[in-house]
Symmetry: D2
Subunit: 355 residues, 4 copies
Amino acid sequence: MSWNTFGRVLRFTTWGESHGPALGAVVDGCPPGLRLSEADIQPFLDARKPGTSRFTTQRREADEVRILSGTFEGQTTGTPISLMIENTDQRSKDYGEVAKAYRPGHADYAYDAKYGLRDYRGGGRSSARETAARVAAGAVARLVIPEVTITAWVSAIGGDAVDPANFDAAEIGRNPFFCPDPVAAARWEGLVDAARKDGSSLGALVECVATGVPAGWGAPLYAKLDADLAAGMMGINAVKGVEIGEGMAAAALRGEDNADPMRPGVDGVEFTANHAGGIAGGIATGQPVVVRVAFKPTSSILIPQDTITRDGEATQLATKGRHDPCVGIRGVPVVEAMMALVLADHKLLHRAQMG
Amino acid sequence: MSWNTFGRVLRFTTWGESHGPALGAVVDGCPPGLRLSEADIQPFLDARKPGTSRFTTQRREADEVRILSGTFEGQTTGTPISLMIENTDQRSKDYGEVAKAYRPGHADYAYDAKYGLRDYRGGGRSSARETAARVAAGAVARLVIPEVTITAWVSAIGGDAVDPANFDAAEIGRNPFFCPDPVAAARWEGLVDAARKDGSSLGALVECVATGVPAGWGAPLYAKLDADLAAGMMGINAVKGVEIGEGMAAAALRGEDNADPMRPGVDGVEFTANHAGGIAGGIATGQPVVVRVAFKPTSSILIPQDTITRDGEATQLATKGRHDPCVGIRGVPVVEAMMALVLADHKLLHRAQMG
Amino acid sequence: MSWNTFGRVLRFTTWGESHGPALGAVVDGCPPGLRLSEADIQPFLDARKPGTSRFTTQRREADEVRILSGTFEGQTTGTPISLMIENTDQRSKDYGEVAKAYRPGHADYAYDAKYGLRDYRGGGRSSARETAARVAAGAVARLVIPEVTITAWVSAIGGDAVDPANFDAAEIGRNPFFCPDPVAAARWEGLVDAARKDGSSLGALVECVATGVPAGWGAPLYAKLDADLAAGMMGINAVKGVEIGEGMAAAALRGEDNADPMRPGVDGVEFTANHAGGIAGGIATGQPVVVRVAFKPTSSILIPQDTITRDGEATQLATKGRHDPCVGIRGVPVVEAMMALVLADHKLLHRAQMG
Amino acid sequence: MSWNTFGRVLRFTTWGESHGPALGAVVDGCPPGLRLSEADIQPFLDARKPGTSRFTTQRREADEVRILSGTFEGQTTGTPISLMIENTDQRSKDYGEVAKAYRPGHADYAYDAKYGLRDYRGGGRSSARETAARVAAGAVARLVIPEVTITAWVSAIGGDAVDPANFDAAEIGRNPFFCPDPVAAARWEGLVDAARKDGSSLGALVECVATGVPAGWGAPLYAKLDADLAAGMMGINAVKGVEIGEGMAAAALRGEDNADPMRPGVDGVEFTANHAGGIAGGIATGQPVVVRVAFKPTSSILIPQDTITRDGEATQLATKGRHDPCVGIRGVPVVEAMMALVLADHKLLHRAQMG
């Protein structure tokens, strides 16, 4: 079932295909009185924008957002905010091959199995282009949670990880990889270039930290803060794993090594560790919320792969179109956006119940 | 915000605390005409039941389920199915210490930060006892998807993994660890015993595979099958990470190593790999759906830890009550239940849109 | 699709059949720290209870509610509140006739057309007995909105209306009809007795007023306060019409006769009329919220009616069982409960967005 | 709380203000493979369009709809359908008076009480202009339920009702009132002209009948077909009452007069009456679904009314702008659209549970 709305009280709905006239998001439930103009959204879209370096797809989109509703005299009114981004670089090409055969690793086969037809141009609705709409919605969500600071970065590409000792948040914006470690960033140039030249692609890890989240946001069950983050992150194209705090590694720990002891602190409590990633029992503890997300390597590669046609015949397919050699890189602004959207929703949920 | 309902059209709502009179689930949206009695649910509760070996908590609960509504003459009627399990072993003990101080790693502090008060007896609503209600609901969900077979097992405890070469599904039910590898099961006896004697605890990995899921269930965005599985699994107590298919490891792969090539097969298509874990673009491919979940080590340990009292004073706390030395073990039936609940929901969602 | 949950953030889910072992409601999203015990709920159930006069069904139910979760030391904890009422007077009778033929005016035929099977004992899930669960849930909702006073009454039975000049709120609890006009109450004794002796039944109008609702609760569209009230009221068994303020009569008015002029008042504004029934553009104006609801005459009558059997044969059916001669009378506590549930939900929704 | 999404599985979300650049709807959950182009939607928008006679507002809008997503090669793909209508006639006028004082009967005061600010230009989000988005969404919903025929008409204006003996469905499209009785239509010309010349306005009744709804759509409780219709209709601007079948009049009937007897018929059953309006116990009976809706007289009138300014000062206000003398007239396509949207949603819900 198509279900393009996310959130419980601060909800957003996205629409649009890779090669349709436009795509967009409707953000509903936003508090009134927040200053909002296109200038508050554009920088986040620019960060995600394709075609800005040789390490991302060469599709060129201005990704200019227009606010079509929900503001008045520069402020949100509390009514739905409609955001639209026109598609401008829908290169006319021959989609015959993709129309007839299924690209392995893509949604093509599953999509046809479900719907019986599909918009095969650039992946249609399954294209990562949809994430532009989420990034726009996320920019609105950030305004709802001024107390929170969200920072994401690529922490590994193709298994080559940043060195925590080199971590410098200021570096993230200085290289085309959202890499906080200048040494790793230098290595990744060669790594990604090589993969691109091989016609291959690389997976990546993205880490995201939110500071300033007050203790108490979240819920004990089902609408747990971590469960909603997991849903939000796993809902991003190409994501195959989500971790909170220690994540999968927690499974190898003993209780005393995973404990987050507390002692009296400035704001009443100080934690001396954060294995939990800022969430206990689904509720924020006041520590930084830490999420890690695994992006698989882009499925579109030039190396031919076995597949079948829509008629069930064996064939081979190499994806020649423009694509990201490492889709995780441009995932960074999307992960930040989903973090903002989930946290903003939980802020409103919290005050619904708690006043 | 308390939010104890999960699912989109096949929905369940759970209620109950560790030390209240009872706990339960209401399953709504179930198709009519399915044969259902307590005997269809009890075996799954028995598998999760505490007190069956020295490797789980010594709390003894019969965990007998009663169906209070939604069936007539042994069949579901299409109306809500109310399931109730009475708590019988609410040992009267002195909760003074837990009432006054926060157990590190537990929801205690976050809970108080949110609600300002909490039922501290046995963790209250945050107790893993709630998962009995999900297991009961999951047993109903299984009846909705007879075409699907779900199997979960513990694949590692405290970092000690099963050997895939030894995998034997028949072994899972033969040892107290839900372990498919008899050699590992033997090792784990010592491992868990040692942790228990140390007053410590161990994390665990649980893997779950669903076969028979038809290509097409799921959705391209937000209500993606993988996103809903991630939400469901991360919503289980003590879970800190969720992986689909290659999971976090996908981040270290190259495109050609992560590809799932296709060739003509018996049912039209045969995949020659399943890195995707049976889900592409949020939609089932028809391959086995593969999910891995990380359980942190039980936070309740006998080793004293630094913490604070409700009044903000420094103190130390050792959790002396009954507890599971490895909460992941009894997570196996819960993971299976969540898999069943998510798949059943998506089966109904699929036919809502597709007829 | 069975859908037994109502509300957006303060949600309740009901379950149970007329002749099952019990029925109940789970109330989720309730703020913590409210004093709640069975004694806060029982009076509302007693008001709705059958068998208290000859003008209601002779089924005798204690309708004793038990709180199974969500409270601790007499206060709500913010977790789901499970309420259960056992059925005690499930008179064993021969349901053969009702099992085989459809009672006109009842859900029997539609139910079979949908589900293919039904629990025909006392109407099963379609029985007005379910409203006990709502009344219990409504009692919890009242605690969420202490600023609001809700009063409902029967304003007409079988077309015989109360005289507004005789209106005395204190009278409502003094007669078996929830009638605010003692003169009308006296007339209704004869009216309802006559209908009962004829084996017939009567329709009724119920009016409900909520005072103290602050201006601002509600929403401009879809989740309008009036739209949610309409859904809640039309969802009560036997209700066929819902009016806000002037209601259907507004269609016959001119603009100046329907206007609600304003002038400066004690709290900033004073309205000099309330044709709107306290809701403008879906949002509360601060005036009393006024809803009127039409209950059809009980469909169960002793007068034989043409119908068909499950096999499609012509037959006649007279409903001999216990039933209310005027189901609208006992609808009064149910209407009040739905008013409380909708308003409490909107109070929480309002502060989610507005802080 | 702003909540601009309606529906359970076939959901639509609307956005836009009276004087913003555009308004629109996103329809989600639509089955794939339906032929859909702008030409399928435009006729319904044209029927609702302002400025087509002297009996509606003189605002002139082309109301041209564009489909921005969700179709491919003229067919729905199963992904969200984004519909946009640009506002073209946003007459620049002086809104100073309306900005400073509250129009009685409008949402102005309540809106300010809720949000603290409002887009006062033409009513902003509260403008009936929003209904264009619903009419567009409704046109899509109609494609989902080809088995159903929906017809609505104005059955009374200002208390002057059509004569059932004159009912001719073919007349509905032949006069500017959607009136099925040519004699009444002739009378209404004078009636509405007089009100307009007086600077006044008139209320109206709209009746809507859906035939072809199969027995079984709907649900026994909460998501009852009638409850969802009530929510949908009461959510339309200016609606103050909703009736199903006998509606409010049912309250004055005796059981035998309200009965809908059955006898064997062509499709198994034939009802000899339809007091229930095609819905019993929340589920369709297979008879025509009959809904009646009361529209209040347009609140914008030229006759000055007492009101207050935003600063709480007494003043008088006469609404001089363009407005409909009888907003109920253009409500006809909106009522039809809501009927289509609710029925289409319930068709999908029914098959979710029933297969």
